[in-house]
């Protein structure tokens, strides 16, 4: 269990830009390296993170609950947000200097496109688990179009896809 907390702690410490950046890292550690979750279970955890209010990273608490019960959920939450608390508190303190640093800015110009590359690789690896037939590919494409080009809340789209799955299967 402490290994799990440690993984969350360092992933949260090294990822900037939110839950989506974390997805490839979590998948690598928990699914591919440690085999604690299947691809399918990992995808379900993302769906839960998206459907609940609050940040997507609450999916860590869901994974924690699944692996280790309530202690796992609470521990996962603490280890996910502790790095933020430490780093942001320090930054609030030294705020002006950090903001103006051209080096921080330049590094980000490299990191941002890299995040997109990572996400594409993850979408492929997760797609292999989720695309079981033509219907599932259609559901993914329709969700993609609705989420990208309309203002419908993704929560409803995921719920709708669940209902579609219920009808089809």
């Amino acid at each position: 269990m402490f290994k799990f907390f440690f993984i969350l702690f360092y992933i949260n410490l090294f990822t900037i830009g939110g839950g989506y950046v974390m997805i490839p890292l979590l998948e690598k550690e928990l699914v591919e390296k440690l085999h604690w979750l299947s691809h399918q279970e990992f995808i379900e955890a993302i769906a839960v993170g998206q459907m609940t209010p609050g940040p997507l990273t609450i999916m860590n608490a869901f994974i924690g609950y699944k692996l280790f019960g309530i202690a796992g959920a609470v521990g996962a939450t603490i280890s996910s947000y502790l790095p933020s608390l430490i780093v942001v508190t320090l930054i609030s303190y030294y705020y002006q200097g950090f903001r103006k640093s051209p080096f921080v800015d330049a590094a980000f110009k490299g990191i941002k496109p890299a995040v997109i590359g990572l996400l594409m690789a993850t979408a492929i690896s997760l797609g292999r688990a989720s695309f079981i037939d033509l219907y599932s590919i259609m559901i993914a494409m329709i969700s993609f179009i609705l989420i990208s080009f309309t203002k419908i809340d993704p929560t409803f789209i995921i719920l709708g896809a669940g209902i579609a799955g219920f009808i089809i299967y």
Partner: protein, 179 residues
């Protein structure tokens, strides 16, 4: 500005945590309404700085924005209170969902439901890629970095190493003009 009490900060962030569905963008709208317009703890400019800080720091941006605002209002205690407020409602819901999920996941009906959801999550990921890509991939060097990292990631190179590598690449490509 009068210093808000810790309890008041907690309650406002609890409300944000409980009702802000639908990811970062809807949460930011919520933040703005509660913190800037209703409570007037920040002005628009301070708020957008807080959002930028959230994006530039490790971890969940929305949590980080909260911590930054909390620290500004009541130092370290304020920061802690914003995390608890934001996370508590979703933690409770997640544990409840987890309980139901483990109990019923093998049932046929639930399995069918989950298959649909699984496909939609891939659609969601694609749309995040699309939206981010439209904003970020605006030069040939950024497209090159994105593609290179995509290929390395498919080859199963450690993602943290790739993020560090891309940060260094950014420093080399864009850092020089400031010196």
């Amino acid at each position: 500005m009068k210093e808000p009490s810790l309890k008041k900060i907690f309650l406002v962030f609890l409300k944000i945590g409980a009702f802000a569905f639908g990811g970062v963008y809807s949460m930011l709208a919520f933040f703005e309404r509660e913190l800037v317009r209703k409570n007037k703890w920040l002005n628009e400019e301070e708020f957008s700085e807080a959002v930028a800080i959230g994006q530039l720091t490790p971890g969940a941006p929305i949590i980080n924005t909260g911590i930054f605002i909390g620290y500004r209002l009541r130092k370290f205690k304020g920061a802690v209170v914003t995390i608890i407020g934001q996370v508590l409602p979703s933690l409770v819901i997640v544990i409840a969902l987890g309980y139901v999920y483990i109990k019923y996941r093998e049932i046929e009906v639930v399995r069918a439901f989950l298959k649909g959801i699984g496909a939609a999550v891939i659609g969601l990921l694609l749309s995040v890629i699309y939206k981010l890509g439209k904003k970020i991939l605006n030069s040939s060097s950024s497209v090159a970095i994105g593609l290179a990292i995509f290929i390395l990631a498919i080859l199963k190179i450690n993602p943290i190493a790739l993020l560090v590598l891309s940060g260094l690449t950014g420093l080399i490509l864009y850092g020089r003009r400031h010196v």
